[in-house]
């Protein structure tokens, strides 16, 4: 499951709607409630525990990649 897949599933959007520039709150499907689900999904998929700063900084797919690389994950 790729990073795009995780986003698509957690936000409930089709895979082709997910692109690297996708930002939090730019689509109605990525609101704050969805964000909580997204955080859990990322933690599960990559077997990590995101810290509180990561949770509120996860504002785009690009940021997600950055954050994951901090944990040594190439997503």
């Amino acid at each position: 499951m790729t990073l795009h897949d995780v986003f698509a599933k957690a936000l409930g959007i089709p895979n082709d709607a997910v692109h690297d520039g996708l930002e939090y709150n730019s689509i109605k499907e990525w609101d704050s409630v969805a964000h909580m689900a997204l955080v859990s999904a990322l933690e599960e998929r990559y077997n990590i525990l995101l810290d509180t700063d990561d949770v509120i900084d996860l504002s785009s797919i690009g940021k997600a990649r950055e954050i994951l690389s901090k944990y040594g994950i190439e997503a």
Binding site: G12, Y24, N25, K28, D31, S32, V33, A34, H35, M36, A37, V39, D51, T52, D53, V55, I56, D57, S59
Partner: protein, 465 residues
């Protein structure tokens, strides 16, 4: 003096909007200017106010209350456009104030428009029925569903509730709240009302608890309280509230459904460690909206309780039915389902049968034990379970059952091979704005029925236990 009277000639801040301060004096001026923008209808008017988080809309809201000539129905700006149109057709409001992007509906022309907002005026409404003189404000019973059922609130009701809230929260002019909840939602509105009643201030933002920008604004503006529904508190925990630099924070307040006990305990402990006060509260739109609260010092011994009545109110349990009954000056006049209903006076005389069942301990603390009416609160929004069943039946041509508890809707699917869980949650999301994480779909061989043919919800709840 009511909260909308706004102390005049004071340069103290009332709102923080886009990082600039708007004083009480300025806000009063804006409110009265707004009223001048509406036509003279020759009678009390009724309109829709899609109340965005900007001073323009708050000025409109206050202007209406101050003038006593215009009654707004508060709506959230993100109401589904199709549902909004249906409401407009049904109620035929004299005017609509909305964010700038709104499409002009038939029968309306633009009165005034700027970057932020638009005032739309209905072309001809000469025969509109009169509005009751005590009617100050209307709120929806279920914000995101666009239901026709509205709550009629008198000027006295909202004013007294604002004062009572300021009293039990001990608000003063140095307090500063922030819009963590929509202003068109009764709880969100009550934060504005109570802070104005205390001469305090409110920070306006569209950012959410899950964004860094929200916490930056909250920290920079020195907010003294955070309010939320259960899911807000899940977010505050996940965002690491105590590390976010809110150096002036002194209280947390929670309502809009039942917060799970582990989280109540978590925030009770955190608040005590940080020197904050954590208020667990209960209310309904029908009570303008707040009904009860747990005094923070007692919370640890009263986890699960909704507390005691707010000042000026009284709570008791009806011994015949176990229904919780509230009496107070903040009780609604009644409901409205048509424009003609807006002429009605006070149907309830200050007595509200809450529809919640419960018990009281020997100190009068109330513990809720179920609901008479079939609804759950998802992210604080009331969702009628029967309406959900009807909608799903209409979409899928099949009977489903809907049960659940706050933030946990359960759909019972008797035809899992025909209807995938995902298609069910997709419909709920599209029409009711219910996020899939708050829904679980469970398969059943068949839906249990009572001898009279009705769905046996009790059995379903037993299975779910």
């Amino acid at each position: 003096m009511a909260f909308w009277d706004l102390p005049t000639q004071t340069s103290r801040p009332a709102l923080v909007c886009n990082r600039s301060l708007i004083s009480y004096d300025a806000l009063g001026g804006m409110a009265d200017d707004f009223v001048l923008q509406l036509p003279d209808f020759g009678r009390k008017s009724f309109g829709f106010l899609l109340i965005g988080h900007h001073s323009t809309f708050i000025a409109a809201y206050l202007g209406c209350l101050r003038s006593r000539k215009h009654v707004p129905l508060l709506l959230q700006p993100d109401l589904h456009p199709a549902l909004l149109l249906q409401l407009i057709e049904h109620y035929q409001p004299d005017w609509i104030v909305a964010p700038a992007g709104i499409t002009l509906p038939a029968d309306y022309e633009t009165g005034r428009a700027d970057d932020v907002s638009r005032i739309l005026v209905r072309r001809r409404n000469a025969d509109a029925p009169a509005l009751h003189e005590d009617l100050g404000l209307l709120l929806s019973t279920s914000g995101s569903t666009g239901t026709r059922k509205l709550v009629r609130l008198s000027y006295c009701a909202i004013a007294s509730n604002a004062d009572a809230i300021a009293q039990y929260l001990k608000l003063n002019a140095d307090d500063r709240a922030i819009t963590t909840l929509p202003l068109g939602y009764s709880f969100g509105m009550s934060i504005l009302n109570s802070h104005l009643a205390a001469g305090a201030s409110l920070v306006l933002t569209n950012e959410s608890l899950m964004s860094r920008d929200f916490w930056n604004i909250a920290s920079e503006t020195g907010v003294t309280s955070l309010s939320g529904v259960p899911s807000s508190f899940e977010m505050m925990r996940r965002a690491g509230l105590e590390k976010r630099g809110l150096n002036h924070l002194r209280s947390l307040t929670q309502a809009g459904g039942r917060l799970r006990k582990e989280l109540i305990a978590f925030f009770d402990e955190l608040a005590r460690a940080q020197g904050w006060e954590f208020f667990v509260m209960y209310g309904q739109t029908e009570a303008s909206p707040r009904i009860s609260y747990v005094p923070p010092k007692r919370l640890a011994e009263k986890i699960g309780s909704i507390g005691v009545a707010i000042p000026g109110g009284n709570l008791h349990i009806d011994p015949a039915s176990s229904e919780l009954v509230f009496e107070g000056p903040n009780v609604m006049m009644g409901y409205a389902e048509t424009r003609t209903d807006l002429a009605r006076g006070d149907d309830l005389n200050g007595v509200l049968r809450t529809g919640d069942l419960g018990r009281q301990d020997d100190e009068g603390y109330v513990y809720l034990e179920g609901r008479l009416s079939r609804f759950v609160k998802l992210s604080g929004v009331r969702i009628n379970l029967d309406a959900v069943e009807e909608t799903l039946a209409g979409k899928f041509g099949n009977q489903f059952a809907a049960t659940g508890s706050d933030d946990a809707l359960v759909i019972w699917n008797p035809e899992p091979s025909q209807h995938a869980d995902s298609s069910i949650t997709a419909v709920l999301r599209e029409l009711f704005n219910i996020f899939p994480s708050m829904v679980s779909v469970r398969s059943v061989d068949e839906l249990p029925l009572l001898p009279n043919g009705k769905l046996d919800y009790r059995s379903l709840n037993e299975i779910a236990r």
